[in-house]
Amino acid sequence: MAFLSTSKTRAERYDAVVIGSGAAGGMAAYVLAKAGAKVLMLEAGRNYDPGSETPMFQSQADAPLRGVSTPEKPNGFYDATIGGWTVPGEPYVVQNDGASWAEGTVQNRLKTGQNFMWWRARMLGGRTNHYGRVHLRMGPRDFKPRSTDGLGFDWPISYEDVAPWYDKVDEFTGLYGSVENLPNDPDSPHFQPPPTPRAYELLLQRGGKKLGIPVIASRMAILTKPLPGRAPCFYATPCGRGCSIKANFQSTTVLIPPAIETGNLDIITDAMAREVTIDAQGRATGVHFIDKQTGKEEHVAARAVILGASACESGRILLNSRSARFPQGLGNGSGHLGRWLTDSTGSNLGGQIPALENMPLHNEDGTSSMHLYAPFSEAQARTAKAMGAPRGYYMAWGGGRQMPNMSTATPAQIGEFYGAKLKAEARRYFGTFIDLHARGEMIPNERSFMELDPERKDRWGIPVPRFHFEWSDHEVAQVAHMQKTFVEMIEAAGGKPHNPPPADARKVMTAGGSVNHEIGVTRMSARAEDGVTDSFGKLWDCPNVLVADGGVFVSNPYKNPTNTILALAWRQAEHLLSEMKRGTLAAPA
């Protein structure tokens, strides 16, 4: 039985305890359990089964309030997240308009004065259940940004170090894409065929060509061909709901079941990790956690502790792991723990394409995500630099003839009609609206970091994080460039943008953290004094504690982090196994 009640753990000591069950924790558990190591996974949320809980084919009318966003389900009723911008009883602390500290609340990420938003999933599989499945590789320049333009920091590893692990991840998770031979957007040898583009995407591709912006197949962890035990996409039901047929990558369908099958993985859900425990020699002995069902403190012993709780949750656990030996938190000897917090920049712009009006009816669901996207082009890089934006972004989009929601028939363009005229106009305009968005690189800065709030604790008595976060002028200039490019793209596709480029790009930027690419608070480094972990994610100060999640990232390029988290977690787990075999890893008595 893989799922344990807490009482059963007392009898055992594990080779590794893994905190978290998403991309990082799921991959760590999978690789270690497959190799024969005894692993215990702690998940702060409940057990979750995509096979029986995923709303496949449900319409918005089958949901309360037609599935719209509510404070409890901020991405809509069907979003495969238990949690979101707030978790009952588990506050975090932010600043509003640069003023005093307050608890983070549910916000519109484009309109808030809240400096940071923190998305948490409290469920088995974590955020992999709902995430966008954008699987991009970081390129050679992304690992060496400082060497490239003098800004930010270089990783202690290069693309060549990670490439073999990207290959393994791609083969295992499956993804679609096209071979393009771009200099900083490496291809995968395992691309499955991408889906046919939709009509509006073809118009954007044609428009992009006029602007010198290549529009290519998107790279998504969604199967278009079967893999063992997994069906390919049947081109219906949005991926954000999760997938009961396992056509997209989800830790709960792809990583955890085979790990359980080995018989080497135990899982405790509703287990809120509090701190890593240390012996007199400064080695980790295990993890203290709260059983959320009983409120009782528990401890589990292990030879190694792997943190995969999400960057800021892992950072919080380390900051809370204070002892006489490590008074500033575990792994904080260099003073870098909690620093260099980044998120992707984001902004969007809508438009309408008259050529799509009264389109012959056809099904445009596809894989629910974009089938094409626009990686950062050399042409964009030149003009962005001239505007003061040294780093890039990619553009993607949504739109077309998607499953109707509460807003489908209400854009201003349809006019204030009612009756038969409204029905005719709704039909005419259906599928003609598009929304371009971009995700861009933020350069780490001194003013963006997390620390523990000096007073507030969560329901379990655990000190909570508070967030400092500021975009720099680089990011603001980048968003200004995005907006200008959106307008050009929509117009080049024959469309009408809803708005001109804004006078102040800050007004159309997403709030920090709200793109959910928050990383960097336990960054890796070549030398102990420059970071928290070595290039394998081992704490410099305590090498039998490893960070497997996005905390170890040194830069946050315009490549969604999950694919890189998976690759680094696999690489790290193999490294840990080799150390365990050699007996060099500290093993508590």
Binding site: F77, H299, M406, A420
Partner: protein, 211 residues
């Protein structure tokens, strides 16, 4: 702190709902926690943080009176009448959806409730003034006369009724086009499993100038 702790046996027979209720009970006792925002969402009950996604359960009571519901129903069918593309809004449950919507405990819906209830009062008074009877009891042409006045620039009715009518129209259209009948009426043909995704057919490519 990591000395051996007492063994705890955890009951595993709890349903999720019971477990959540337990957690809420624990939460209510916790002294360190600021519960204001959370409590506001629970009274009256909302959807909850962990609803069953396969089942539509509306935990809040419907608030519209029978009289309000009659006005809403009349408005629904003026906004979405039956035609060759599909049935009228009332035939697919949109009036009840409006009741579900305006009765919900969330900020947006509470705001909508105030606008819609005030608008209904205004609409009824307008019908009484013009025709000597309530809006729902007025003839179709009379009802349309009021709506035409609302959507026509420069009228008093527009000044007073526009925000209400626009909101009502948006919610009714949203409620309607999210039903399967609404899908057919707007021309949505997806949500069906396909072996392959064919992309746009030749006539669609030609229509968009992509052929």
């Amino acid at each position: 702190m990591n000395a051996s702790l007492p063994t705890v046996s955890v009951p595993r027979s709890l349903s999720r709902r019971e477990a959540i209720q337990q957690i809420l009970a624990v939460t209510a006792l916790a002294s360190t926690l600021n519960l204001r925002g959370f409590a506001a969402e629970l009274n009256p009950p909302g959807i909850g943080f962990d609803p069953n996604l396969l089942k539509k359960e509306i935990p809040w009571p419907r608030l519209l009176t029978d009289a309000e519901k009659r006005t809403v129903t009349a408005l629904c069918d003026l906004i979405i009448p039956a035609d060759e593309f599909g049935p009228a809004a009332s035939a697919v449950g949109v009036p009840d959806f409006i009741d579900e919507w305006v009765s919900a405990p969330y900020e947006q819906q509470v705001k909508d409730r105030a606008i819609i209830r005030t608008g209904i009062v205004w609409l009824e008074r307008e019908a009484q003034t013009r025709f000597g009877k309530g809006f729902a009891d007025s003839a179709g042409a009379q009802q349309s006369e009021i709506l035409e006045a609302i959507v026509t620039e420069g009228t008093d009715a527009r000044k007073q009724g526009r925000a209400f009518f626009k909101l009502m129209r948006d919610r009714v259209a949203g409620g309607y086009y999210t039903t399967r009948e609404g899908w057919a009426a707007i021309g949505y043909t997806g949500n069906v499993p396909l072996v392959d995704f064919p992309g746009p057919p030749p006539e669609a490519l030609a229509h968009a100038g992509l052929a």
